[in-house]
Symmetry: C2
Subunit: 309 residues, 2 copies
Amino acid sequence: MRRRPKTIESVGEFGLIDQIKKWIPPMHRSVVCGIGDDAAVFPMAGGGYQLLTIDTVVEDVDFKMNRATPQQIGWKALGVGLSDLAAMGGIPKMAVISLTLPRRTPLRFVRDFYEGIRKLARRFRVSIVGGDLSRGPKISSSIAVLGEATRTSTVFRSGAKIGDLICVTGRLGGSILGKHLNFLPRLREGQFLARRGVSAMIDLSDGLGQDLNHLISNSRTAFMIDEAKVPISEAARKLARGNLRRELIHAFCDGEDFELLFTIPRSKLGTLQRAWPKRFSIPLTVIGQVMRLAKGMRPTYRYQGYRHF
Amino acid sequence: MRRRPKTIESVGEFGLIDQIKKWIPPMHRSVVCGIGDDAAVFPMAGGGYQLLTIDTVVEDVDFKMNRATPQQIGWKALGVGLSDLAAMGGIPKMAVISLTLPRRTPLRFVRDFYEGIRKLARRFRVSIVGGDLSRGPKISSSIAVLGEATRTSTVFRSGAKIGDLICVTGRLGGSILGKHLNFLPRLREGQFLARRGVSAMIDLSDGLGQDLNHLISNSRTAFMIDEAKVPISEAARKLARGNLRRELIHAFCDGEDFELLFTIPRSKLGTLQRAWPKRFSIPLTVIGQVMRLAKGMRPTYRYQGYRHF
């Protein structure tokens, strides 16, 4: 009997990323952070860092044509990349847009798609500097965003220390009811947090359960979450219809919250908590703590988030 | 009777790009060159320019799974972006890769795809610094490349002057027989030409006929081509089977030659022609001349190149 070749489905997205990291060693010594964080980080000529990220949205996977307006699709296509930069404390500067379209796509879809991009780009002063058009069986768009950050205020996934507190912005779960299309990337919040000494940060795209694993396993630590503290969104409550267990499952597993999950030394929390409400109206919640990884313990959490394959 | 909405097919790729330019005005004054050239150009902190480009290859449009190896697909996916930078005289530095895959894609496809990318990236010292994985109905890949160039050696599409000579590297036509998958981006040639005072440059992706229009209409000039001088590739000869007219049609219309088409002041040609064969083994051919655009004359050529939609 012939063995079937392994598929990407069988190794999963993160198994695949681990493989790719081995296949593609970075060339320039200067690259501070490559594959595996929210964005690549490398030094800029005049001091400071540059950040580069790319994200793709695909019809029927990331949006459905009968449930999203073209403007929302454009907004989301750019938003996911901006959210990546937010998680590093970065400031987006330029973006290039690749758009793949079936031949029969109405011209007004493209106009409205770019209108969604333009609105979000203007809000955060991002220049759309170029792109590429291709033909394909379904609509999809890849956007690369180039940004900047100072060396001291760049936050990686990998800085969590034992004893740090785990915090989250906003409220989680139920993004399918709308937020996954109209979220506001937490750029200002990310820059604010980066200046206040957070130790590690990630944006919540795959769901709290899974993204906790990404944040914490990169730091080789474990974590403890107080489930009662996890801030639940209105949408998650609506979907759960009063079932508290189901609310939590939505908050942990739905994904595409595009909020920020971060760790911060206990000594810096007080100042942050006092300053936060003067700048932002969304909540900032302490939900847990970074723990020592006991010998033989695997730094994973049992909640499954969104599976890409 | 209800009017059918306009489709992108009816306006064509370049009609669509013209529309998009109106929809998306660039934000930063500092952007030297945005939508409409081979790459976006903007000043770097320490002096010099940065270049950013994005390109997508799609299964069944840019490659067929039964006619290309996964390595060739990876090579091409990165190569088209490198060719864009070559046309500006740029040096590629970093790339981020978005890869969209159906669930059942064999793991070894991904490994070999990245092997193709790795080989080309290593050859030109490009660091693969990040990426994104998505699920989709067909394989496609978008790659953004970030590069650099000095201010004096960056070449745009729009610099052709009346009287300049029109030249091309390599031999044209018939890329479908293999070159569209295994071409070597003309990066060294592009940097060499940029330092020797070429006035405008573009890479031949849509075919000489169409790319001449892009090069020349950006400069608001006309052109005259000596068809007998156009260098014909072996592949084009093979496809044309001895029919000289068909050879020319292949050279003008096939596209994906990934050679460089450029204009140069007559005074600089001699030095270039003497220096070229000491560095490169591919031919450099003068094929025509930039002319004054007569009143009422449209700067277009009758040969049709590749149509994206």
